[in-house]
């Protein structure tokens, strides 16, 4: 049901039946490693290219989610997903092997929540079972956007590290206590920042815009949420977002405003300002956050995946970095829909 300016309400309470999160060997040091379903020991995931390795991440995340729900890919009506490799091939190739009708999305690192919102809509419209997921592989994405991984370019402190992880959620009309109730689709917010090594700053105003629009569309505020978690703003992006909330005269309490990109690596020096990548918000939201909702540690969470919609061509042509953020409300529901 369309709500407010740019939001959806899901009155039938689409459920997240299960989720799968897989990660690479570097992510073993993550404080969230216990919330991952599988951690690969090989950074190529047994494949001969990093692009194929990312396909495996996506496939495995989907398979883990299906396995936990006792389903197979044949039961799934649609898969919604996307990634950061040119032409979304990472997700396309995974969908090819899963053999599921496929909606290919591009929202950069905001794809996870874009996919989840669309999946919830599909379930509202009667789809029996839908997958939503994304994956990113550090080496494949560095190659796509930056320098060769062995090239000795010094990174500034604002740089972020692309996470090697995949996350997928299986959404259906009933059968679980974790439900998707609302979503707000963000518009492009571009305040003219151009530094591809400071994407947190480029995305922060988009996150703020989407969150404030979400509040006004549903006449809610931060008190209605236990946690508002952004995708990959990183340390600097999160501080900037908090400052921007203050400037917009809607300050948020710091403890309630977390960032997936900061949780994954927990100040590991290689990660600089934090994690990034499509897999970042997917791995944390479909892993730790869903676990916390299931176990009653959180009641209602606003997951806001943030994306920087640049390409290597646009930043070399000195274009600014457009930011976007999509918000999805996840909550615990004891009694099911009715």
């Amino acid at each position: 049901m369309f709500t407010g300016k740019q939001s959806w309400t899901f009155p039938s309470y689409p459920c997240i039946l299960s989720s799968g999160v897989v990660a690479g060997p570097f992510e073993k040091q993550s404080p969230l490693k216990d919330t991952f379903d599988y951690i690969f020991d090989d950074r190529r995931m047994g494949e001969n290219t990093f692009e194929k390795a990312q396909v495996v991440l996506m496939e495995e995340a989907c398979q883990q989610a299906l396995k936990k729900a006792g389903k197979t890919a044949a039961d799934v009506a649609f898969i919604y997903g996307g990634d950061l490799i040119n032409q979304d091939t990472g997700t396309t190739f995974a969908s090819r092997s899963l053999n599921v009708p496929y909606y290919g999305l591009f929202g950069a690192c905001s794809t996870s929540m874009e996919a989840l919102s669309l999946a919830a809509q599909a379930v509202e419209m009667g789809a029996p079972l839908v997958l939503a997921g994304t994956a990113s592989h550090y080496a494949a994405i560095e190659k796509q956007f930056r320098y060769p991984i062995e090239y000795g370019a010094q990174r500034p402190p604002t740089a972020q590290r692309t996470v090697t992880a995949g996350g997928a959620a299986l959404i259906g009309p009933s059968g679980s206590d974790v439900v998707v109730t609302k979503s707000t689709i963000g518009k492009i917010v571009d305040h003219g920042l151009k530094d591809p090594y400071n994407m947190g700053a480029a995305m922060a105003p988009a996150a703020v815009d989407t969150i404030l629009t979400h509040f006004s569309d549903f006449q809610m505020d931060e008190n209605d949420y236990d946690l508002i978690i952004t995708g990959d703003l990183g340390d600097l992006g999160r501080s900037l977002a908090l400052e921007w909330f203050r400037q917009k005269e809607h300050p948020l309490p710091e403890a309630k405003f977390q960032d997936c990109g900061m949780l994954i690596y927990d100040n590991a020096p290689e990660a600089m300002s934090g994690a990034s990548g499509t897999g970042c918000s997917a791995a944390v939201v479909f892993g730790k956050i869903l676990d916390d909702i299931k176990n009653g540690r959180l009641q209602r969470v606003l997951a806001v995946a943030t994306g920087a919609l640049l390409s290597p061509t646009t930043y070399q042509q000195k274009e600014s970095i457009p930011g976007i953020a999509h918000a999805v409300t996840l909550e615990a529901k004891g009694g099911g829909p009715l």
Binding site: F50, K143, E150, A153, Q154, T158, L236, L240, W244
Partner: protein, 158 residues
């Protein structure tokens, strides 16, 4: 393009906030590290030079080539073992500016694009980063050469 003045003001305001909050880059510290590591690489080069001149049949004029080749070999080896980029994060320009940085640029790209095959992958991409060093190095040498010729009037004797 922003149309209304309100959003223009907001953009300017945000740029200022972002600039104010961006952590300052530790330029002084990084320059010092670059200076020391770069100098250390040159010291190693000097040692190699002395080694070749002492134990092999090289003189001051001919020792440059094998020394550079040795440094390149070491840099490529370290790149292949996946440690060169870790040194570089520490030392920045110190490992980038010497010939070892050039070797790293070539080797890392070759490794990166190996998956696209030898011809279109390795061959076609090896100069992706190093190419501009060669192009602008040559252009700069040409311009400096002309200036040198004018200043020293060597064009007359030629």
């Amino acid at each position: 393009m922003m149309s209304s003045t309100k959003s223009n003001m907001e953009t300017e305001n945000y740029k200022q906030v972002a600039k104010r909050m961006e952590p300052s880059r530790p330029v002084g510290m990084r320059s010092l590290k670059a200076f020391l590591v770069g100098g250390f690489i040159c010291l190693i080069g000097q040692c190699i030079q002395v080694f070749y001149m002492t134990f092999f049949n090289f003189n001051e004029a001919t020792v440059g080539a094998p020394t550079v080749a040795t440094i390149i070999f070491i840099a490529v080896l370290l790149t292949g073992f996946g440690v060169y980029d870790k040194f570089s994060q520490f030392s920045g320009g110190g490992t980038l500016v010497p010939v070892s940085g050039f070797a790293n640029a070539m080797a890392s790209t070759a490794i990166e694009y190996r998956s696209e095959g030898y011809v279109l992958g390795v061959g076609g991409n090896m100069f992706k980063l190093a190419g501009s060093v060669i192009v602008f190095g040559t252009v700069a040498a040409f311009i400096i050469g002309i200036i040198y010729a004018i200043v020293t009037q060597q064009w007359e004797v030629m």
